[in-house]
């Protein structure tokens, strides 16, 4: 990958004379430190692209191959860096192509600023060429959106956009700018946004709630922590680790919480949810205290709410008041930023003897290992498993790689078995389940953290949903490692068809192209492997490469992911086979 070095805002002289709106957009981006953005030009955004050309020393713009690629790349960038991701598109189809990624960012609380061009304001509502009501379309899936029709509004609105995207519970913001506003001149000055009068990003913490929570924690005999992405978004990994270690309580994670605490940490007891680990799922319904931290009790985590942790007291550390008592009624809600609330509660917590409780985890872990994990990671039957490929990646990376996954069986296997030593290393589409996410997101992640190893693990179905981004990877030379776990099926849907639809495999079998040839068409080094003898060496070769690399691994066609909590069932009904 070409090393990208852009000049900083300090080196940018103020214009000293009126400038056009389009230049103001670019200057605002530089002022916000957004020096790496993803997008696709088109008529209604061309004035901004013209300025990007002039300011290319300050902003590196990555030309994707489809706007959906731009928004997922911006997501990958945001997820690995903790900064606001920026993407840009033209009006009409350019804007609508962003919508899936915006919805994905909304449900996974990813900070994004999406900038779309719009037809000139005098044409609004006239069904002009490439006119679409993107504000109307995106409203339900944005944290905030605004249509700029006057150049003078640009600095204030973009400052507000970045502030809203990154503050409190982060989320995507869309700013739609009419072409006449991009062309109009005005006197530019930029002031970062520090508050919006109708918006309170972080609720106040009630000291009594902290006290009540500490009392519950100190009197619990069988407590269980379940943490989510809030720990990562709140940059609270250190505070969280201190809390876990001080309390000595077993801690399980939701899919988006993964990597906030190292996999190997002795108090890390694995993943909860539909394909999570056996012990933390079952023991959710045995614990006497459930401590939920920065998570939202998604249905894939809780299963049937009527039978979820009914025996337990529940504490919820949360930044978003709308999440409290939304799905699960809690006993104590500790509102605020977990970075502060966890730091505040840790000194109030006394470690309890929990040996018997940990014993329960060990017993159940052993059952899961014998019935599921051992056969997945150390298979003896011919036919590669997805798990052994992840194991090979772990062995090669030592757990230091960021794993970017798509959606489906490979995602569940990767999240179950990938080892993490570093936070912000599990980048996946959790809430929305967007197939096609991983390839562009991995590109964004690699560019957002070039020093890190980034491995995209993708199924053969999802890979083909944004396969065109191989072109962007080739053009940028971002050294993304791409592993296609190819079972020639839409594997997760096939698994459900097998289990719940009497093996009627309706439209799930895929006749696939030659992925290696396709990669080679993009001048990306590629290899296919279909047997155990060669697999480890192939993974090792891919990981050692300093360039983008695609490895297709042909895995067993009809393997299933277990454990599994069937949709709508109780966490107690988790199946091992």
């Amino acid at each position: 990958m070409k090393s990208i070095k852009t000049k900083s805002i300090q080196e940018l002289k103020s214009p000293g004379q009126p400038i056009i709106g389009a230049e103001a957009v670019v200057r605002c981006l530089v002022a916000e430190g957004a020096n790496l953005i993803y997008g696709y030009p088109g008529g209604a955004i061309m004035p901004v692209y013209d300025e990007l050309y002039k300011f290319q020393d300050y902003i590196h713009h990555v030309l994707v191959r489809h706007e959906q690629g731009a928004v997922h790349a911006a997501q990958g960038f945001a997820r690995i860096s903790g900064n606001v991701g920026v993407c840009m598109a033209t009006s009409g189809p350019g804007a609508t192509n962003l919508v899936t990624g915006i919805a994905d960012a909304m449900i996974d609380s990813t900070p994004l600023v999406c900038i779309t061009g719009q037809v000139p304001s005098h044409l609004l509502g006239s069904d002009a060429f490439q006119e679409t009501d993107i504000i109307g379309i995106s409203t339900p899936v944005t944290k905030w959106s605004y249509q700029v029709t006057r150049a003078e509004e640009i600095p204030e609105i973009l400052a507000k956009a970045f502030y809203i995207a990154r503050s409190g519970r982060p989320g995507p913001v869309l700013i739609d700018i009419t072409k006449d506003a991009q062309f109009a001149s005005f006197d530019y000055s930029y002031k970062p946004c520090r508050s919006v009068r109708s918006y309170k990003p972080v609720p106040e913490t009630d000291q009594n709630d902290l006290k009540k929570a500490a009392e519950l924690i100190n009197s619990a005999k069988k407590p269980l922590i379940v943490w989510g992405q809030g720990v990562i978004l709140g940059k609270a990994e250190e505070e969280f680790k201190a809390f876990v270690e001080q309390s000595g309580i077993p801690a399980a994670w939701t899919i988006l919480g993964a990597s906030a605490l190292a996999t190997e940490h002795p108090l890390n007891v694995g993943m909860v949810g539909m394909h999570g680990n056996y012990a933390p799922n079952l023991l959710t319904n045995e614990c006497d205290l459930l401590i939920a931290i920065g998570m939202r009790f998604d249905d894939r985590v809780t299963g049937d709410l009527n039978t979820y942790a009914k025996q337990a007291k529940i504490i919820h550390f949360e930044i978003d008041p709308a999440e409290v008592n939304k799905n699960v009624t809690v006993d104590v809600a500790v509102m605020g930023d977990v970075k502060n609330t966890l730091a505040a509660i840790t000194p109030m917590v006394e470690p309890q003897p929990l040996e018997n409780w940990f014993q329960r985890f060990k017993e159940l872990d052993k059952i899961e290992f014998d019935k599921v994990i051992d056969t997945e990671l150390n298979p003896t039957k011919p036919g590669l498993t997805m798990g052994e490929v992840i194991k090979a990646i772990n062995a090669s990376s030592g757990g230091d790689a960021a794993i970017v996954t798509d959606v489906g069986q490979h995602q569940m296997i990767a999240c179950r078995y990938a080892e993490f030593t570093t936070s912000k290393s599990n980048i996946t589409s959790g809430g929305l389940g967007t197939m096609g996410f991983a390839l562009p997101a991995a590109l964004g992640a690699k560019m957002g953290a070039p020093e890190r190893e980034v491995v995209a693990v993708i199924g053969d179905g999802g890979f083909q949903m944004n396969i065109q981004e191989l072109g962007t990877i080739f053009q940028t030379q971002a050294a993304v490692k791409i592993v296609i776990l190819n079972n020639d099926f839409l594997g997760m849907v096939r698994q459900w068809q097998q289990l719940f639809f009497d093996k009627r495999y309706a439209s799930t079998e895929m006749v696939n192209p030659d992925f290696v040839q396709i990669a080679k068409g993009y001048f990306i080094e590629a290899k296919r492997v279909d047997n155990r003898e060669d697999m480890n060496a192939a993974v090792e070769e891919m990981m050692r490469s300093e360039k983008p690399y695609l490895l297709e691994v042909c895995v067993e066609k009809e393997n299933n992911v277990f454990p599994m909590i069937p949709s709508g069932a109780s966490v107690s009904d988790i199946r091992l086979e």
């Binding site: 504000i135 109307g136 409203t139 339900p140 944290k143 905030w144 959106s145 605004y146 249509q147 809203i164 508050s195 919006v196 009068r197 109708s198 918006y199 309170k200 978003d320 008041p321 709308a322 008592n325 939304k326």
Partner: protein, 174 residues
């Protein structure tokens, strides 16, 4: 949980698009809005939404939290009928012929304490403000004379208790 009528009051910045953002919250949950009114509020540049829905208390709590979360919403509340003073306004357009030719209609108007807004040779317009039952009663009483047009506003309501919105605004800007 039992469904009942709740009045949701929203104080918000007066911005394009906020109505769509608020109504999307109901749409997402497949909840029908019974009535909706947006107007100025007691505070300059702050709009007041009054939305009436028939839902459970748990639903209205969650909806209000989601509304409150919107960036441009200053504060959202919900109240039961007992906690508010509320009214609706209705306009009835009737042919003038019936006013002059049928004496009985004059009694109906008198009895209902409605106002005659305008009279001209072709039609006259009656205005009635009150509870839903009252405007409906007048509708039923006038229907036999032939209603040329009928329209009723959304509910407008004020709460019996103080809203303290100025206080909240001050807190937010500090």
């Amino acid at each position: 949980m039992e469904q009942m009528t709740y009045t949701i009051s929203i104080y918000a910045e007066n911005n394009v698009g906020l109505l769509s953002r608020v109504s999307a919250i109901f749409l997402k949950r497949h909840i029908n809005i019974n009535s909706l009114n947006i107007s100025l509020s007691e505070i300059e540049n702050v709009s007041r939404f009054v939305i009436v829905v028939h839902v459970t208390e748990e639903q209205v709590q969650k909806i209000v939290k989601q509304i409150d979360k919107q960036i441009e919403v200053i504060k959202a509340f919900y109240h039961t009928d007992e906690e508010t003073i509320f009214q609706e306004s209705a306009l009835y357009k009737v042919s003038s012929k019936s006013l002059f030719e049928q004496r009985h209609i004059q009694n109906v108007i008198k009895k209902s304490h409605a106002n005659i807004v305008t009279v001209n040779p072709d039609f006259f317009v009656i205005e009635k403000t009150g509870f839903r039952e009252e405007t409906e009663q007048l509708y039923n009483d006038l229907a036999p004379f032939g209603l040329l047009q009928f329209v009723r506003s959304g509910r407008i309501s004020v709460t019996k208790s103080a809203m303290e919105i100025s206080h909240i605004l001050k807190e937010l800007s500090d």
